[in-house]
């Protein structure tokens, strides 16, 4: 099915560019229903959410617990077995349990950071596009600067100074990743501002804030959501990278933390694939889910490339 056809199946008033918040939300459902990739992405997220919620109940061991063998020895560096589905770390921790708990850090970081990026980026884009003039100039120069900052090095420096906690990771990502959303939302607002219903709202006495958030915002929301879905992936990937480099929260099990642990504990030399393959696969799936969802959106919103 082509993008153009999908566009036809949108909630009726959507294409007339005067959407309400409810319709903007409906679009999200439509995307999932229409695009196999987007559906796959949503299912991946759902599975991770379920795992994250149920982790304490499902995980056979607490993630940081040292396990012992029946003879009293530390159960270190064991291969997969019935007791330890994915074996144990060099300190005798259960890898499978860590993997389950790792989904919590990934989802929290991913979603909270994406939410931050979407909110900050959308607000910047709305203000810049709606007011134009010096507001626009200042905000877009700020975006230029944000684009000029080397992302990962800055994230490392900031997290190193702010202290190793996942909330600082989230904060840093919000501060650095809003730029893409901000720019694209601004461009969209620029074109929406000229539409007659926006003018009508102004003439009828709606305040600037009301016009922006009630009349314009719902129209750019799907666009923000597209970038939000991408940001979830970026955030998970960045958190993993920061943890891998050793600047992560030492008290939170994340997939990046597990990989760092494996890397530093000679798991590569010992060929302990059961230790370092699963966390990487999980990160990859989570990031791909974000890509898939944003792709579904892109084809719905910009069906040009799929035409014919």
């Amino acid at each position: 099915m082509s993008g153009a056809d999908r566009a036809l199946a949108l909630p009726p008033r959507w294409s007339r560019a005067n959407a309400t918040w409810r319709e903007a939300l409906q679009t999200m459902v439509v995307v999932a229903r229409r695009d196999r990739f987007a559906l796959a992405g949503l299912i991946i997220y759902l599975v991770f959410v379920v795992i994250a919620v149920l982790a304490p109940a499902v995980a056979p061991y607490p993630p940081f617990e040292l396990n012992y063998q029946p003879d009293g020895e530390v159960a270190a560096n064991l291969g997969p077995s019935v007791h330890h589905l994915l074996g144990t770390t060099n300190l005798g921790r259960d890898i499978f349990s860590q993997l389950l708990y790792g989904s919590r850090a990934a989802l929290v970081v991913g979603f909270v950071a994406a939410l931050g990026v979407v909110i900050l980026g959308t607000i910047v884009g709305l203000f810049a596009g709606y007011f134009g003039g010096w507001v626009d100039t200042v905000l877009m120069r700020a975006a230029d600067v944000a684009f000029g900052i080397p992302f990962l090095p800055m994230a490392i420096v900031l997290v190193a100074f702010l202290g190793p906690s996942i909330w600082n990771v989230v904060l840093v990502m919000t501060l650095l990743l809003w730029r893409d959303t901000g720019r694209i939302v601004r461009a969209q607002v620029l074109s929406l501002r000229e539409r007659s219903y926006v003018e009508a709202a102004r003439v009828l006495g709606a305040s600037h804030l009301r016009t922006m958030f009630v009349h314009i915002a719902p129209n750019v929301l799907p666009l923000s959501f597209l970038y939000g879905a991408l940001a979830v992936g970026w955030a998970i990937l960045t958190e993993a990278s920061i943890s891998f480099l050793g600047f992560g929260d030492p008290n939170v099990v994340s997939w990046g933390f597990m990989l760092q642990d494996a890397y530093n504990s000679q798991a590569l030399a010992r060929q302990a694939f059961y230790w370092f393959v699963p966390p990487g696969v999980c990160i990859m799936l989570a990031v791909m889910a974000g890509f898939f969802i944003s792709r579904g959106y892109e084809e719905l919103l910009f069906p040009r490339l799929r035409r014919r």
Binding site: M1, S2, A4, D5, R308
Partner: protein, 347 residues
């Protein structure tokens, strides 16, 4: 037999909602050296027909029937390579989007030379001197050959594309809305140039436009197209003076340039039919003030009388209908729901 002969040519688009019959059996003939204007509203199949004649249809479109003869040769029977021999060497085209038809990153002269070298078998230096020659012909300084397309104005780009079309001395040039995108003064310049070129080169012209004043200016014959068919066809003076199809009469009333003494213009109410499922009867019936029951039932064929052809059941009454045509169309505009709505339900 003419240079170009079409008989029942049909083109369909495959869409997700089924086939769209954009060209539904077009029959036409263009004698060598003459200019035929093809007019009609946008969406009537003019451009699709033109692209079928040069053999470059959109991906989802294909020719589904009929015959297309050029200089006596059945073009549809030729293979890909056979068709390509005719393309540009004997049939050239000035496409609708002439403004965007030149490669933005290559100099205009290089694009002309490329075509002449690859299609005309010329050497590069011969091609370049020929390019200068045609540039002069279309009223452009040869120095402009060294410019990039974005450095030319709209009118100059249009002339450059026309020059490119004439490069290999084709027998037939198909020009699709050659002046629509230009502003009025430039339109006149380009039209005058086209007329002079015809006189000096003797090239045959198939001119496609929605603007009947352009046809009156440039063409010998005119064919009026509606919903994928030719509804009227004949010499320009004759057709515009004494149209026999109500659609042509309506067009004449809807355009300002032809009848300047007329106090006000009368538009044709309504829209062309949906070509996913073309109507059983005459496609114009729903918008026609003179439609009778027969028009809803049978699709009239294009019949020739006195060197003119019209596809209308009431063509023989044309003289009488012409008298009341303005008032009749005006009534259609006023009556929000046209009377013949009911028969649509009858099946």
């Amino acid at each position: 037999m003419g240079l170009l002969d079409l008989d029942g040519l049909a083109v369909e688009y495959q869409t997700l909602h089924g086939a769209v019959r954009a060209v539904r059996g077009v029959s036409l003939s263009l004698p060598a050296g003459r200019a035929l204007g093809l007019v009609g509203e946008s969406g009537c199949g003019k451009t699709t027909l033109a692209r079928a004649l040069i053999g470059v249809l959109p991906r989802n479109a294909r020719i589904t029937g009929g015959s297309y003869r050029f200089d006596g040769v059945e073009m549809l029977a030729l293979g890909r390579d056979g068709f390509n021999d005719y393309r540009w060497r004997r049939i050239a085209m000035v496409p609708q989007a002439a403004m965007d038809s030149l490669d933005p990153v290559q100099r205009v002269g290089d694009q002309m030379a490329e075509t002449m070298v690859l299609r005309g078998g010329m050497t590069r230096s011969a091609a370049l001197s020929r390019a200068e020659e045609i540039f002069r012909l279309v009223g452009l300084e040869p120095g402009r050959l060294r410019l990039y397309p974005h450095e030319l104005s709209g009118g100059m780009k249009q002339r450059a594309v026309i020059a490119l079309a004439l490069a290999l001395r084709p027998q037939l040039v198909i020009a699709d809305e050659p002046v629509t995108a230009l502003d009025v003064i430039v339109q006149h310049q380009v039209l005058r140039m086209l007329r002079d070129l015809r006189a000096t080169l003797g090239v045959s012209l198939l001119l496609i436009t929605h603007d009947i004043s352009v046809v009156a200016h440039l063409c010998d014959d005119v064919a009026v197209m509606y919903a994928g068919r030719i509804v009227e066809w004949g010499p320009v003076g004759e057709v515009f003076a004494r149209p026999r199809h109500p659609y042509t009469m309506g067009l004449r009333n809807a355009f300002p340039s032809l009848r300047e003494h007329q106090e006000h213009l009368v538009p044709i109410e309504g829209y062309p039919p949906d070509l996913h499922n073309p109507p059983q009867g005459c496609a114009f019936a729903p918008r026609c003030p003179f439609a009778i029951q027969r028009c809803w039932d049978d699709d009239p064929a294009l019949t020739v009388a006195d060197g003119m052809a019209a596809a209308c059941h009431r063509a023989s009454e044309a003289a009488a209908l012409r008298v009341e045509v303005a008032q009749a169309f005006e009534r259609m505009v006023k009556d929000e729901a046209p009377a013949p709505a009911a028969p649509l339900e009858v099946e």
